[in-house]
């Protein structure tokens, strides 16, 4: 994987992880243009793009877009599942995650991502192991994630 971006419907970056060494300018430019490209696509359009020299896989969850740029030889479908597994992990950790959780606790989202993917490759795909690792590290911390009031809708049961 080359990089992963999380951004809102307004185009605000919520999380960015770069697995290839790029300069800050380049990252900013690439991120901005890719976000614009994806936001310009209609809801029913394909989740995979070949954009410039990149293969991009994205998916929208509520107000948040998850977007990965992958290597030429990587499989798009399995990347889509990587995204979904990450969302599941966030969901389990925060307890029905929503965009605000990620905004206010973005460092936690990074920690979870680092336990799930390392150096751009899947590190651990077992949900249990990932969360265990996070919890162990969290025990050092006095505060766990700070929770926000939940929407009333029941959650993961409605995964689509």
């Amino acid at each position: 994987m080359r990089f992963m971006l999380l951004f809102s419907r307004q185009g605000k970056l919520r999380l960015q992880k770069w697995y290839v060494p790029l300069g800050d300018q380049e990252k900013r430019r690439l991120g901005r243009e890719l976000v614009q490209t994806i936001l310009g696509r209609k809801a029913k359009m394909c989740s995979f793009l070949e954009w410039r020299d990149l293969k991009v896989v994205y998916k929208r969850y509520a107000s948040l877009y998850f977007c990965c740029a992958i290597e030429e030889q990587d499989n798009e479908l399995i990347t889509l599942e990587v995204i979904h597994r990450y969302v599941e992990l966030l969901d389990k950790y925060f307890g029905s995650v929503c965009e605000l959780d990620i905004i206010f606790n973005f460092e936690k989202a990074y920690f979870i991502l680092d336990e799930f993917l390392l150096g751009g490759e899947a590190q651990e795909t077992s949900k249990k192991s990932v969360l265990k690792a996070i919890e162990q590290a969290d025990q050092l911390q006095e505060v766990r994630a700070v929770y926000l009031p939940r929407p009333l809708i029941p959650l993961i049961s409605q995964a689509f």
């Binding site: 809102s8 185009g11 605000k12 970056l13 999380l15 697995y19 060494p21 790029l22 900013r28 490209t37 936001l39 310009g40 209609k42 809801a43 359009m45 394909c46 995979f48 793009l49 070949e50 954009w51 410039r52 969850y61 509520a62 107000s63 030429e72 798009e76 399995i78 599942e81 969302v87 599941e88 969901d91 029905s96 929503c98 905004i103 206010f104 973005f106 460092e107 680092d114 390392l118 150096g119 590190q123 795909t125 077992s126 949900k127 249990k128 192991s129 690792a133 590290a137 050092l140 006095e142 505060v143 700070v146 009031p149 929407p151 809708i153 959650l155 993961i156 049961s157 409605q158 995964a159």
Partner: protein, 1119 residues
């Protein structure tokens, strides 16, 4: 809020941490305030002001000595947030490192995170992190070790790898699986950025592969995928292990939490399948070992048909069998008009794959149409390459080819891949089978260019102008009645064009010079000279002068620019050796020696940057290899041999016009798909020699089964449908008939057809970049919509729930379309134990691990078949074979005689003998049985070596090995390219006394030192050679420091072990030279430096220094 108050608040950690009230405690934190502040703003400008203020405040606080680590942590989180919004906070980088270094565990975590987000692996500040990482790796706190490994797996300075490598390696044996897993991934990262640093721990990777924890095992697969991609033949022995693991995964033996929506570990499965596909490629026996488990995996994976994405799958599938596309033609046609440009692009990609001689016109037209509207440069370049490739491969006739290429040159313009004009010109100049055709092609080109120049030359792209000039310069004489002076007058105005680059002007003038014969030309030349003689461009003036001179001297012109009838290949001296004299003169006169750009840059950087190891930088490999590639002429690179094909497509020349009649009839109202697929096949069977004619006359030819088309009601919708079907029949024309010839069509050219397809492109065109740039959406910073932000990510879908699946709706949701949902409910509950217990027993590499660390690892022979026993490396040598060594080879240095393979009667052994000018493989065939082995023959092949039999001619090809005797065979080995280890695969075949043929495979491993010879040169010669070589590598080597004279001792060890010649030792420096057998020299400059031997290797062959360095390291490591 005043600064004091602010600090007081943050100094009370309990305020935040112990606040359990639900509310929104986080939004009262400073980050929360910042975030809310931003969302309340309405303009980008306000946001910028706010963040700048924030950054100033952060900056002030981080540099204050009173700031606690805890506050620092909070500040770092805010700095990361600002950076994410696109504002630079580089002042905080150093503090992030400090936080990682000095913070307690919880602050450290944020420090490391900030470092990994702020810095990339080439950032110089990272060097300051090395000590922290070292310290944490040794920590007794598991979490700290984890953090250190996590950061190492993401960003770590390449040059510092040796400092922490032993520690990371050691972690592979850690009792905690999470540590082992992270260590494996850190090593994976090292492998990617510096493969030769981790070469010595390959055996430990095998251990990781056998780890009882599935997470560690799957992490090791990342490394194996890389290594297998690079060198599949070295990992064939692991096929069994991979197959076993896959079997267990598919069989559901992993712990249940590895399941993903009831598919057992899909990521792991895909990884394994990718590795297996690499190992099984072009290897029947290996593939056979996989069939069973592949079948099982497929059976369990429900195929899911997401139409749009299926397109992509289809694109891959048609590479194997183009006929499969036939079944989906109407879908493909639908997708061709799809609103989503991505899907349109994929469709074109698919069409590109199924192109053949009959549908090429329609498909190229579709591609060009897309090209005309494309605004994205990547797409344009990629499609331009594709059209060119198709045109060269399948052009139905010359004029179509020229027309198509003209369009490509016009549309793609100057961003075009440079090899397109190159190969086009090469095609014109080299021609193909018939001289008549060649002339016709040139004539057509000249004709079309003349008319293009007459119209509007100003609008032509530069590259096209260059092509035009060259062609007119070379071939305008082909056209009768076209006076050179006329051409000159057409070309001359190009020099006046404002957008015409100086390069293009040179092309134009070169063309004019070629044509300038006769008085009429002289006057044009003089006119030009007057007009442009005052140009500031010296090249232009030079060319003009040449033109003028040559135009007036016809004799000289013929000698300087002879008419090229037969094209003599030009010899290019890429090493520029003809400049040697000049260089040495300049050096003697005191000029500074030339340094390649990267070296200069590096030295510059060393002056500026923190220099930890002044002599220890190893250059990135890519640099050294690219420098050699850069020297090749582009034409060499773009050249590739044409593929031969065996398609039955025997279309007569010119017979490729669109023929819609006949074919359209295939499309009945009901079920046109299946029948369409069937019909052409049948047609092909009835008349194999010319299936095309059958297709074309389909309607009238009585023997062709025709599916009648019911007269459709002429409604508008039907009309549209019929148009689509017509289009389909054009697009898919020729696929069925090809199918009769064999399933493998793609990329193959028919031998009897037009000869444009001399050249087959590499991946360039198919893997190019593409993708339309979408319309920009509104991105004004609107207040964060509380509602949308509160939406649960997993439960609200962006799509309206009632929507029906359409081709565009391609985002497969995991619940119903996971790639391989082997439903665990349907899989039989297997009582076998879980993977962790099962794995080690099934993995051979575990047992073999010890052997692999030995130098003799490659002597292990993997043999299939039941009549042959695998040679046990510990088996004592059955016969003393050294007396059988040919006399002339006695006394020469040689390797140990090692057994290769054996069966009931024969034992094969071999050794490698080094003579001054060759390396000989001596194979001993001992027949221990009573009867003779008849018709004995040995075959050997290798990817890295050229193998040729030394003694004996073809009459000896089949011979007998008598009972109780030893036959000796000699083979000369020459490396084709240097590599650390080289493998030789062979097969011994003979007839047993009962006439039964017997065949035994074997393999033999050699290493680079077998092919290294000392190079005796004087110190002066060495200096010259040094300057002539590039491809530097620098590295520090261990010194034999316990010896009285460490430098001398170390160099002599290298001399003895690796046959290097120590040219000279002066004080603390030494120079060493060697040579690859029948290859270029490799030079080594050694210097004592801080208890190490700093070596600097150079060679004209990019791989050689790298490989040699590896063996130097080994030679010094062994005692």
């Amino acid at each position: 809020m005043s600064d004091v108050v602010e600090r007081t608040l943050t100094a009370l950690p309990s305020l935040l941490s112990s606040d359990p009230s639900p509310g929104r405690p986080s939004s009262t934190s400073k980050l929360g305030t910042l975030i809310r502040g931003i969302t309340e703003l309405t303009s980008k400008h306000d946001e910028e002001k706010l963040i700048q203020r924030e950054l100033v405040s952060i900056k002030e606080q981080v540099s204050s000595p009173n700031t606690t680590m805890r506050q620092m942590k909070e500040l770092m989180v805010r700095a990361v947030y600002c950076e994410m919004l696109g504002y630079e906070a580089s002042f905080s980088y150093i503090h992030a490192i400090k936080l990682a270094q000095q913070g307690t565990a919880l602050d450290k975590r944020v420090g490391y995170l900030a470092v990994s987000l702020f810095l990339n692996e080439s950032h110089e500040l990272l060097l300051l992190l090395v000590n922290t990482v070292l310290k944490d790796l040794q920590s007794t706190n598991l979490i700290e070790v984890c953090m250190a490994l996590t950061v190492v797996g993401q960003v770590f300075p390449k040059d510092m790898i040796p400092a922490i490598l032993p520690m990371v390696e050691e972690k592979l044996n850690h009792p905690k699986e999470i540590i082992r897993r992270k260590a494996v991934l850190a090593l994976y990262k090292f492998y990617l950025i510096a493969p030769n640093q981790v070469q010595h721990i390959h055996s430990k990777f095998r251990k990781a592969l056998c780890d009882k924890d599935p997470g560690v095992m799957s992490a090791s697969l990342h490394i194996y995928l890389e290594m297998v991609t690079e060198k599949p033949e070295s990992y064939k022995d692991l096929v069994v292990s991979f197959v076993t693991i896959l079997k267990q995964v598919v069989g559901g033996k992993l712990p249940i939490d590895f399941n993903y929506h009831s598919v057992p570990a899909p990521w792991l499965q895909i990884q394994l399948l990718r590795i297996l596909s690499l190992l099984g490629k072009n290897d029947r026996s290996t593939s056979e070992m996989m069939y069973e488990v592949l079948d099982e995996s497929l059976r369990r994976a429900e195929m899911n048909h997401n139409i749009t994405y299926g397109l992509k799958a289809l694109t891959y599938v048609v590479q194997q069998d183009a006929n499969l596309a036939l079944q989906h033609q109407m879908t493909i046609i639908e997708c061709l008009d799809h609103a989503d440009l991505i899907i349109k692009r994929e469709t074109l990609e698919l069409l590109f794959r199924i192109t053949n001689g009959q549908n090429v016109k329609v498909i190229v037209e579709k591609l060009l149409e897309f090209l005309r509207h494309s605004k994205d440069d990547y797409v344009t370049i990629d499609l331009g390459g594709k059209v060119t490739e198709l045109a060269e491969k399948y052009a139905p006739d010359n004029s179509w080819f020229i027309r198509t290429m003209n369009t490509v040159f016009l549309l793609v313009g100057d961003q075009m891949q440079p090899d397109i004009p190159n190969s086009f010109l090469r095609l014109l100049s080299e021609g193909f089978e018939s001289a008549e055709e060649d002339q016709q092609l040139r004539l057509l080109a000249v004709d079309s260019y003349v008319s293009l120049l007459q119209e509007q030359p100003a609008r032509l792209p530069q590259r096209f102008l260059q092509v035009i000039s060259w062609v007119l310069g070379e071939y305008s004489s082909v056209k009768e009645g076209l006076e050179p002076a006329t051409v000159l007058r057409l070309l001359a105005p190009l020099l006046d064009l404002r957008h015409c680059s100086s390069e293009t002007k040179s092309w134009v003038l070169a063309a004019m010079t070629k044509l300038s014969a006769g008085p009429a030309c002289l006057s044009v030349a003089q006119e030009l000279a007057e007009r442009h003689g005052g140009s500031l461009d010296t090249t232009l003036r030079q060319r003009l002068h040449e033109l003028q001179h040559l135009a007036s001297d016809g004799e000289l012109l013929r000698r300087v620019l002879p008419c090229s009838d037969g094209l003599e290949p030009l010899e290019v001296d890429s090493t520029l050796s003809f400049l040697d004299g000049f260089v040495s003169e300049a050096l003697a006169a005191g000029a500074a020696p030339y340094k390649p750009p990267h070296q200069r840059q590096e030295e510059l950087a060393q002056e500026k940057a923190l220099s930890v190891e002044p002599y220890g930088l190893s250059l990135p490999l890519s640099l050294s290899s690219s420098s050699i590639a850069g020297r090749l002429s582009p034409t060499v690179l773009s050249m590739s041999s044409g593929l031969s094909g065996n398609s039955t497509e025997l279309s007569p020349k010119g017979g490729s016009a669109l023929r819609l009649e006949g074919v359209t009839r295939v499309w009945g109202k009901e079920g046109y798909l299946a029948k369409a697929a069937l019909k052409p096949e049948e047609a092909a069977k009835t008349e194999v020699p010319c299936p095309l004619s059958v297709l074309q006359e389909g309607g009238s030819a009585p023997r062709t089964p025709v599916v009648s088309l019911p007269a459709p009601a002429p409604g508008p919708s039907l009309q549209a449908e019929r148009e689509k079907q017509q289009l389909a029949s054009c697009l898919f024309m020729g696929l069925g008939s090809q199918g009769a010839a064999g399933p493998c069509l793609m990329g193959k050219a028919e031998p009897t057809r037009h000869g444009f397809r001399k050249k087959v492109k590499g991946q360039g065109s198919s893997s190019g970049a593409r993708g339309p740039s979408g319309d920009s959406a509104s991105s004004s910073p609107s207040p964060l919509s509380a509602q949308s932000a509160m939406d649960n990510l997993l439960c609200s879908s962006p799509l309206d729930s009632g929507s029906t699946p359409s081709p565009a709706d391609s985002a497969p949701s995991p619940a119903d379309s996971a790639p391989s949902p082997a439903d665990s409910a349907t899989s039989p509950a297997d009582p076998a134990p879980h993977l962790p217990h099962d794995l080690p027993a099934n993995n051979r590499p575990c047992d073999a691990q010890e052997d692999l660390t030995e130098d003799t690892d490659t002597s292990e022979t993997v043999v299939e078949g039941n009549s042959v026993a695998v040679v046990d490396p510990y088996d004592p040598e059955p016969l003393c074979l050294s007396p059988h060594l040919p006399e002339e080879l006695c006394g020469l240095p040689r390797s140990e005689i090692r057994p290769l393979c054996r069966d009931a009667s024969l034992v094969l052994s071999a050794c490698c003998v080094r003579t001054d000018h060759s390396s000989l493989l001596v194979v001993f065939v001992s027949n221990a049985s009573d009867s003779a082995a008849r018709r004995f023959a040995l075959q050997m092949t290798s990817g890295d070596l050229e193998v040729s039999r030394v003694r004996g001619g073809p009459e000896e090809e089949e011979e007998h090995v008598e009972g109780h005797s030893v036959a000796v065979y000699q083979y000369s080995l020459v490396p084709t390219r240097p590599s650390v280890h080289m493998e030789l695969a062979g097969r011994a075949s003979y007839q047993r006394p009962d006439g039964e043929p017997q065949s035994t495979p074997f393999s033999y491993g050699l290493s680079l030192p077998d092919f290294i010879r000392p190079l005796s040169v004087s110190t002066e010669e060495y200096g010259r050679l040094w300057l002539a070589s590039s491809n530097d590598i620098k590295q520090n080597l261990a010194l034999l420091s316990q010896e009285p004279d460490p430098l001398r001792a170390t160099l002599h060890r290298l001399r003895d072990r690796l046959q290097l010649n120590v040219v000279d030792i002066i004080a603390s420096e030494g120079i060493v030279a060697c040579q690859l057998l029948q290859g270029p020299p490799c030079l080594m400059h050694c210097r004592l430096n801080a208890g190490c031997l700093a070596v600097w290797l150079r060679s004209s062959l990019p791989e050689l220094p790298d490989c040699l360095l590896y063996h130097c390291q080994r030679a010094l490591a062994q005692h």
